[in-house]
Each structure stands twice: as C-alpha cells, then as structure tokens.
Amino acid sequence: MTPPTSAPVNRIGLTASDYKGSKSTLCPGCGHDAITASIIQAAFELGLEQHRVAKLSGIGCSSKTPAYFLGRSHSFNAVHGRMPSIATGVHVANRELILLGVSGDGDSASIGLGQYCHLIRRNVPVVYIIENNGVYGLTKGQFSATADVGSKAKAGQVNDYMPIDLCAVAIELGCGFVARSFSGDPKQLRPILKAAFSHRGTAVLDVISPCVTFNNHEGSTKSYLNVKEHDAPLHEISFVPHFENIEVDYAPGETREVSLHDGSRIVLKKLEEDYDPTDRTRAIGMIHQGRAENRFMTGILYLDQGKEPLDRELNLVDEPLASLPLERVRPPKAALEEVMAGLKIGKG
C-alpha cells in the first residue's frame, strides 16, 4: 500500500483510495454511492485502521454497500433487519473494534424495527447509518415505512400511512447521537460521520438518499430535487478530531461547541436559530415542526454524552472477551469440586 507521491496521505500514511472497496453494483447516480464516498473520505481523514473496523449490514441496496468501502476490514452482511443483533454480539466479543453499521429504511424501519430499538436501548457503540430512500429498491419500488404521507410511488399509488421517523424513535429511546443528513450534501455528512466515530455509544445517522430508479419522480418527497429544495440545515458543522489542534475561527456567540469522550470537539455554527442539540424536547419538537412545514431538518439533532455504552454496563474486563486465554475463562479444578461438594449428598 505505498501511496503514489501525488496523493495526500493521512496520519497513518494511507491515501483516500486505500479506503475503497470493490466497485459498486448499484444504479449509476444512486445516493448510496455518494454516502459510500463520504464514508471513504471520513475514514481517510480520521486515519482509521481498517483492521480495527467491523462493517455490518442487513439486506437491501444499502446493505450491499459495505463491499464498496474499507476493503480490508472484516464485514458481516447479515440477514434482513437483524444487523443490530450481530452488532451487539460483535461488540461484546471484542470491545476494541470500531463498528460501522449500514442499513436501509426497509431494513431498520420495517423488518428490523425491533432490533433497531433494542440496539439503541442497550447503547451498543456502533455508527449506525440508515441510507433512507423511502422505497424498496431491490424488489423494485414498494413503499417503505419511512415514506411520507402523500408521497407518490413510481407506479402511481399514494402512501396513506404515517412514516416512522427513525431519528425521533432513536431520541425517544435515549440514543446519545442522532443526526439527519442528505447524501447530496457531503459537506454536512462528512463531519457528522467523523463525529459519530468519536461517540461512545450508538450513533444514528439517518441519511436521506434518493433512489434514482424507483423514487426520483415528481410527487415523491424523497426525490433528489425535493430533498434538495426542502433541506433545512440546523447549523454548519465542523468536527475537530482529538489528534488535531485546530482552532475553529468563528465570532463569539456564533457557535456552540460539544466535547466528546475522546477529546474531539463538534463545533456548530448558528444558522436560522440557536439550535441546542442537547435539548431532547426541542429535538423532538424540531422533527415535528419540520414535518409540519414540509422541511427536512438536517444536522446533529441530539447529543448526550452521559450514557454508558454496553461493554461498560456489562462490566467487561478490559481485554476483548474473544482473546481471553483458556486459563482466564476456565475456572480451576477447585471450583468444580466446590460445586460438586454442594451437590454430593448421597451416603453409603
């Protein structure tokens, strides 16, 4: 992996192209490929070590994408809607791994809604990206549970059912990092992604990602044009990783800053209003307001650094459970003898 002299290298000496995977087989112009590009760029900028990353996904167009980035990482493409349980097991087995989960709206809001909720309840440390296009792509255009009321399918049907807002669900369940972004806005998505890797717990990123084949027509609320038109960023986001010593230059009072456990910082520059992402009630209110006003409120919706992740809740030893040697996991003979003595009540 010697980088060509012209390409910039990151803090561990890799170029951005070292973070690529195999070639995408999604439709040309797919929003998911734009997210893949943002993941590659974010991983490059953070200097992630690929062997420390485990990529996890379910089933669907979105869940195929882990093949297209971080080609040297282990990856687990699970069954439909069950990536969260896989993530939970992987994390507990090896708490040193960095988990990157990719799911879709069908995968997380329909078949996998239960596992999605329980992963958040347990605060499993995983960067959980939902590539949300409101439609089932691989099976050719059925509505998903995130389709907005009144949105029109390519074949003409209109959705009458309430959408499930996965960000609102996450906030309700106590998720400490909830963001919404747009695949067409890498400038916003990248710093969110980078910040998510510094969060100690579940980080939910609901990324609206238009389906160019089945959900990009007029009347669809998740078409590229409609999202672009109604995207309403809450703030401008900068991320300062712990390994960089950069001052972000804003006038006093213009920004809010949130420090993360690893020493990284998120700097949010005010736009329309001074949005406070640590205010849970306001966050939920903002989502409702956006829906009422037909706007996609994007940015970091909610942050809470106070909750312990699952490995700490379980009081696990520091080393990964997966690498404990036999002598640390097989109790001594005396232990078995003690148990047997308690059960040995026969007499002769």
């Binding site: 062997h51 493409n77 069954v79 349980s85 087995a93 596992q115 459970l321 690498s323 404990l324």
Partner: protein, 599 residues
C-alpha cells in the same frame, strides 16, 4: 411388582405456587441422603399459582429412575383433585388425605391416613398467607415418619434449602416437627419403609439444565444470549449464577463473560453469531417456539460457516403446545433447520453427566466444524433432578478450531476464507481485529466463492455446497460414540437417545427376565457415527424408542440407511409425560407379536 421396602413410588398432589417444591425436594433429598436411589418428576401446569400440580418420587434400590406409572403412596393435599387422585390408587397402596377433603369410598385393601393439616398449622403460623406455604412441611413430617425417613436427614435436607433464611428455616422446622409429632401419636407406620442403604455414596443430585450450565462454564463460554422460555430458562439463569461466582477477574473484579437477555430468539441467535464470528465462545438456549424463530439465522450460520452452540430443551409442540411437558419431537426440524439444503449437527445428552460433557464438547465441535451445534435436551432431563457420579474436570484444553492470526498470515502469505486446504472440508477463518492486511473478508449469506466474494456462478455454488457435504462427513468422525450393549445371539436391537435411555435399562431387564434378550444402542450424535450403521446391520429387527409421534429418529436413520430401512421399527410415546418402562415393554411385545404373526 408390589411395593416393598426401598421400592415404591410417592405421588404428591398439591397446588402450583404453594411452595410445595421445597417440601418435595426435602423428602427426595432425605431419601437420597439415606443411601437409597431416588428420582423425582415434577408434573406442573403452565401457570404461576393456583392450578393443580403433582410431584412423583420414585424410590428404587435397583437404581431405576424412569417414570413409574404405578403410585404406591398418595399424598393428597389439593382438595380440587383429591377425588380423582384417590380413585387412581390401587390395592395395597397408602393414601394420605387431608381432613375434610372430598374423597370417594376407599376399598378396605388400601391403607388410609387422614391428617388435619389445617388444624396443625394454625398454632404454628399467625399469617394466613404463610400458612399455605408452611402446611406443606407438615406433610413432610407426617410422610417421613410413616415411611421411616430419618428426621435428621429431613432436617439436613431442609437446612440445605433454607439455611440462608433462618426465620423461614425455623418456621418450617416447626412444621416438620408438628407433622412427626402428630403422626407418631396418632398413626401406624406404613407397610413399606425406607431403609438405610449404601447406593448413593459419593453421588450427586442435579438437574440437566444446571449440569449443562456447568459444562458451559468449564468450556470457557464468554457470551450467552437468551430469551426466556420454559423449559430452557433455568439453564441460562443457572449459567449466569455460576458465571457471576466463578468468572470474575480476580484482580479487577470485572467479568470475563457477558450474558445478554435478548428481545427475542432471533436477536438471541443473532448476537451469538456476531459474538462467535468475532471470536467469542457463544451460546444460546431455547425451546420449540424459540427454535422456530432462529430458523433463518441458523441457515445463515450453516452456509457462512459460523460456530454456535444452541441448547434445545425440548417441550411438547407444535406451536405453544404443552409448554411444561416433555418431548423429543424437534429432531427433524432441527436437523434441517433453515430453507435450502441444510444439515445441522446434533448432540443427544441422555444423562445429566452427558449434559455437562456436551456442555463442554459442543463448543469444541462448533468451533472445529465452524457450524451450529444443537444440544438436544428435554424438559424431563433438564428440569428434573437425577443422581449421577460427580462430574470430571476437563483433562484437555479447548479446541478453538482453525483460526489464523497475523503471524500465520505473514508466514502463509495468502488467505482464502472458504478454501479447503487440509482436505477435511473445513476452511480457515480469521477474526475481526487481526492486524494484518490479508485478514479481512466479507461474510455473507448470499452466494460466495472460496475468497468470500459475491458470486452467482452455478459451478461455484455447487462446489461450495459439495464441500459443505464433505464437511458433514468430517463431522461424523467427531461425533461422540454411541453406547452399545450387545446381547449374545440377540436378533433384536433397541435404539434410544436422550432421556428415553432411563426407561430402557429397566425395560430391557424385564424383557430379559421374560426370555427376550435385546441389544441396545444409545445414539449420542447426528450425523450418526459408523457404529450406528454397524449396529443396525447386525440385527434383524431394530426398535427405535422415542418420545414423539412421527418416529423422527427412525426417519433420520431410514434416510441415512435406506438399504436397511425395512428392519427399522418404532416404539413411540408422545403424551408429554416422560416415557416409562412399561410403555417400552408393551411396544416391544406388540411389535414382536406382529413379527410372529407375519411369519
């Protein structure tokens, strides 16, 4: 056989949730402590409190521990069932009845004792709610006096259970005493007694779920995920208790294990697969309905080759079935659990010792074979107590299977996840986190080639499936050997597995006494070892005894040995009660009569 000293069965009818379990266990332990072989069967409803429940204690100096269908002593505490319970008692039996309880006219050839339980408990306990619990200990006192069970042993058995709650212990002691006092002043000893013997020296009493849990602890299990379901919950709960006691890091006090109660069985098996893929020793435990939910993931694990240990404590199905009754009817669904061509490895523990040994071995097998391994226990084995020799500490280290680390990868210079390098059809794997650029690979349930790349190639698909079939043959070599007892010149061979085993020695002894010698094979694993085929080949007629309606083990045998299928017959028992020797003997006799008629 009529009841005699150290050879009789006590049937105790009480109300669920009344604390009678402690009373019954006290009696059972006290007999065991006197050196007399004993076994207990708890027949309980799917209910928290209020419905009838029965506990049967079989005392047998020959060591027969399967269910006895004839009761010699009835302890009738539940007035709701006393009419039927008393009517079922035969000549020569002993009936202990609560004063005022409804009872039919009892013929004079039964010994009847009437005890005013309500009056006896009144002065002991002021609280009416507590009385309902403590009254059970009065029958312990009465029964122990009537049957000659040493009061010192009763007291020791009671202390073993309540020793940590001094107040409860004192109250219950007083109740036992009141029972003994009443009986000695008012009743005559029963016609058959418990006599001290020396047949339980050094033995332990334990249930199969606890034994399985111990096996997992000493296997070095690091990850357990489960969803509550009867009758498997007690395995997970006892496992967590042992882990909390024996698996804390001595320096930091932190856990070298994790137990996560999942949101359902799909998540439970998903977590196990995730943990196992990442290198943990991971297991789950469940029963019928949970198993159905695990179907998709277990097919994934078979195809993507991920180890997993899954305990199935079988209960009566289909659907919710009878959740508190025993069964061996999950064999066929587990053998092929998943869509597509799938075959799963199964272990069949017959004894609590097997539960312990397979609790250990299942991990070695799963990691060696990189596939799910199902341990097929059942409610009878899992939730009832059985006597056993103490368990042996594992002599061997563990087998973590074929895992390459960074140094291996550097030495070899290449890695293909699904390539058969050694000719045993088991490929090598790497764990996430391995610091080597060759280590990573893509695990998927979709079509994949030897390099774990996505493919829809017809040849590659068939090639991978053929390798998996060859891996099945490797598994066959690693299965625990069956237990074989050859009777000289026997034309007839009997085959059993799991808890059915306990009815077999008694049935075969009685058949032999009647002049019919039988050989016996106890199957311990699937795929079947070569000895299984040899046994079937060596006998003209094979009777497969199992606790299901559809002859599931026989079906698996016929599938594997199509050429020998005509000699395979079935003896089936499937009413949810543990199989008894009499059913085996009757099944055998009617089978052999048909054989004679056909000649």
């Amino acid at each position: 056989m009529s009841p005699s000293d150290n050879n009789f069965t006590i049937h105790i009818a009480t109300v669920n949730g009344s604390g009678s379990q402690t009373a019954n266990t006290t009696l059972l332990r006290a007999v065991f402590q006197m050196g007399v072989p004993v076994s207990g069967k708890n027949l309980f409803p799917s209910n928290i409190a209020g419905l009838p429940t029965w506990f049967t204690i079989r005392i047998n100096d020959q060591g027969y521990v399967s269910r006895d269908t004839r009761y010699d002593v009835l302890v009738s505490i539940n007035p709701e069932t006393s009419l039927a319970d008393v009517s079922a008692m035969g000549p020569g039996s002993v009936i202990l009845l609560a004063e005022g309880a409804p009872a039919p006219k009892i013929p004079p050839d039964r010994v009847v004792y009437t005890v005013p339980f309500a009056k006896l408990v009144e002065p002991l306990v002021a609280d009416a709610k507590l009385r309902k619990l403590v009254v059970n200990m009065i029958y312990v006192g009465v029964v122990s006096w009537l049957l000659g069970i040493d009061p010192a042993e009763v007291d020791q058995a009671l202390t073993a259970q309540l020793g940590k709650k001094p107040k409860a212990l004192e109250m219950n002691r007083a109740a036992v005493r009141a029972g003994i006092d009443y009986a000695s002043a008012n009743l005559k000893k029963a016609p058959f007694q418990v006599r001290r013997a020396d047949k339980t020296a050094g033995k332990i009493l334990i249930d199969g779920n606890q034994a399985g849990a111990l096996g997992a602890v000493f296997a070095g299990v690091t990850y357990v995920s489960w969803y509550p379901i009867t009758p498997s919950s007690s395995l997970a709960e006892q496992l967590e208790m042992f882990l909390a006691r024996y698996r804390r890091d001595p320096k930091s006090g932190k856990a070298t294990y994790a137990v996560v109660q999942a949101e359902d069985e799909i998540a439970a098996i998903g977590m196990v697969l995730g943990a196992s893929w990442a290198g943990a020793r991971a297991m789950t435990t469940t029963s019928g309905p949970g198993l159905s939910l695990m179907t998709e993931f277990t097919g994934y694990a078979y195809y993507a080759e991920i180890p997993a240990v899954i305990w199935d404590i079988q209960r009566i199905g289909p659907s919710t079935g009878l959740p508190t009754r025993t069964s061996q009817a999950d064999l066929l669904s587990v053998a092929f659990l998943s869509h597509g061509d799938t075959k799963h490895v199964m272990l069949f523990p017959a004894t609590v010792e097997d539960c312990y040994e397979f609790g250990l071995k299942a991990f070695d097998l799963a990691e060696r074979l990189q596939t799910p391994v199902f341990v097929m226990s059942d409610l009878d084995l899992g939730m009832n107590v059985w006597m056993s020799d103490p368990f042996r500490y594992p002599e061997k280290p563990w087998d973590r299977g074929k895992v390459l680390d960074a140094a291996d990868l550097t030495r070899i210079g290449s890695f293909e996840r699904y390539k058969d390098i050694d000719g045993d059809a088991i490929p090598y794997r790497t764990l996430p986190g391995t610091p080597h650029p060759l280590a990573g690979y893509f695990t998927r349930g979709s079509g994949h080639d030897e390099q774990a790349r996505y493919t829809e190639s017809a040849e590659t698909y068939a090639r991978v499936m053929d390798r998996l079939r060859r891996k099945w043959e490797t598994a066959r070599e690693l299965m625990p050997a069956p237990v074989v007892e050859r009777a000289r010149g026997a034309e007839v061979g009997m085959v059993a597995f799991g808890s059915t085993h306990h009815a077999m020695d008694e049935a075969r002894d009685r058949l032999r006494a009647d002049g019919l010698a039988t050989s016996y094979l106890l199957v311990k694993g699937y795929p079947f070892s070569k000895e299984v085929r040899r046994f079937v080949e060596a006998h003209e007629r094979i009777y497969v005894v199992e606790q299901n309606r559809d002859a599931q083990m026989a079906a698996l045998l016929k599938m594997e040995y199509a050429d020998l299928a005509p000699r395979i017959r079935s003896i089936l028992h499937y009413d949810g009660l543990p199989i008894d020797a009499r059913s085996v003997i009757e099944g055998m006799r009617s089978g052999e009569q048909m054989e004679v008629a056909a000649r």
